[in-house]
């Protein structure tokens, strides 16, 4: 199998994930975009690991680590999202501006 094939698939996933993170305003959907990007990185790790025929299996072991970290990230992220929802009945990211410097103060 040409090495380029998994790499291009990973690029596609990463691009889609990046668009999702930047264009969505629902916090859970943004987390989904992050997951896609992490998966792209994982796919690249596994593909390069297979290409190098690495005896330490670094690609696959690192992928396992990334999956673990991603699971922890989602757990914490969703806890935060639910906390935010409980406080303000909305998880739209662009409405969370309480700590934003106020526009008028910035202009004056």
């Amino acid at each position: 199998m040409p090495l380029l094939l998994p790499l291009l698939v990973a690029t596609g996933l990463f691009t889609a994930g990046l668009y999702g993170v930047l264009a969505r305003r629902n916090a859970v959907l943004v987390l989904m975009g992050v997951e896609l990007m992490l998966n792209a990185a994982n796919l690249m790790l596994v593909a390069f690991g297979a290409w190098l025929a690495d005896t330490l299996l670094a690609g696959q072991v690192l992928t396992l680590f990334v999956i673990t970290v991603a699971a922890a990230e989602v757990g914490l992220g969703l806890a935060i999202v639910l906390m935010v929802y409980r406080q303000r009945r909305s998880i739209a990211l662009d409405e969370m501006t309480d700590l934003h410097e106020s526009r008028t103060a910035g202009l004056s």
Binding site: L8, E35, L76
Partner: protein, 180 residues
């Protein structure tokens, strides 16, 4: 055999990228999570074809079995109407910029990868069965593994603290929210 593997991989890749695009563009919020299942499953299939059997099943167990269920859970606890929701995406300008940034990143990656690795071939000999992975994790990668366990513990504690309601001080925040 090898050509067949390549063709199947290409099909899975198209499936993964296609459903990933649907994840980030669909206007029905639960459908996004369901397309995410398809995308992650296709990636697991890609791992299988790359002979990373153990990683593929971890992907299914952790991502499809737990992460997506957690995401669906969060969607339903917040707001998941049936049908189209209009408030999932940012404004048109931001979306255009986002698409441009994403496409530029993608173009950059494709250029670098094609330049660096075109013509390279993956030899299908290497295997990633459970014994090999286990030996590798507990011999060469023990320290990162232990650090990871501490990280997981921290995440666990953090999640519990975040979702507790009987912590002193949290009640004040709740009453502020009630007053809004």
């Amino acid at each position: 055999m090898n050509a067949a593997v390549t063709v199947v991989f290409a099909l899975l890749g198209v499936l993964a990228v296609g459903s990933a695009l649907l994840v980030v563009t669909t206007r029905q919020v639960v459908h996004a999570a369901l397309w995410l299942v398809v995308a992650l499953g296709a990636v697991a299939g890609c791992y299988l074809l790359l002979r990373a059997e153990f990683v593929a099943w971890v992907q299914v167990l952790v991502y499809v079995g737990a992460v997506v269920v957690l995401l669906l859970f969060a969607l339903m606890l917040t707001k998941a109407p049936i049908g189209v929701s209009e408030d999932l995406d940012a404004g048109l300008a931001q979306r255009v910029v986002a698409a441009m940034v994403a496409l530029a990143t993608g173009a950059l990656l494709v250029t670098v990868l094609v330049d660096g690795f075109s013509g390279e071939v993956i030899d299908q000999g290497a295997t990633g069965g459970a014994p090999a992975i286990g030996a590798s994790v507990f011999r060469s990668w023990v320290l990162p593994f232990e650090v990871l366990s501490v990280l997981l513990l921290a995440a666990l504690v953090g999640a519990i603290v975040l979702s507790r309601r009987d912590v002193p001080g949290a009640g004040a925040a709740d009453s502020v929210a009630g007053g809004r």
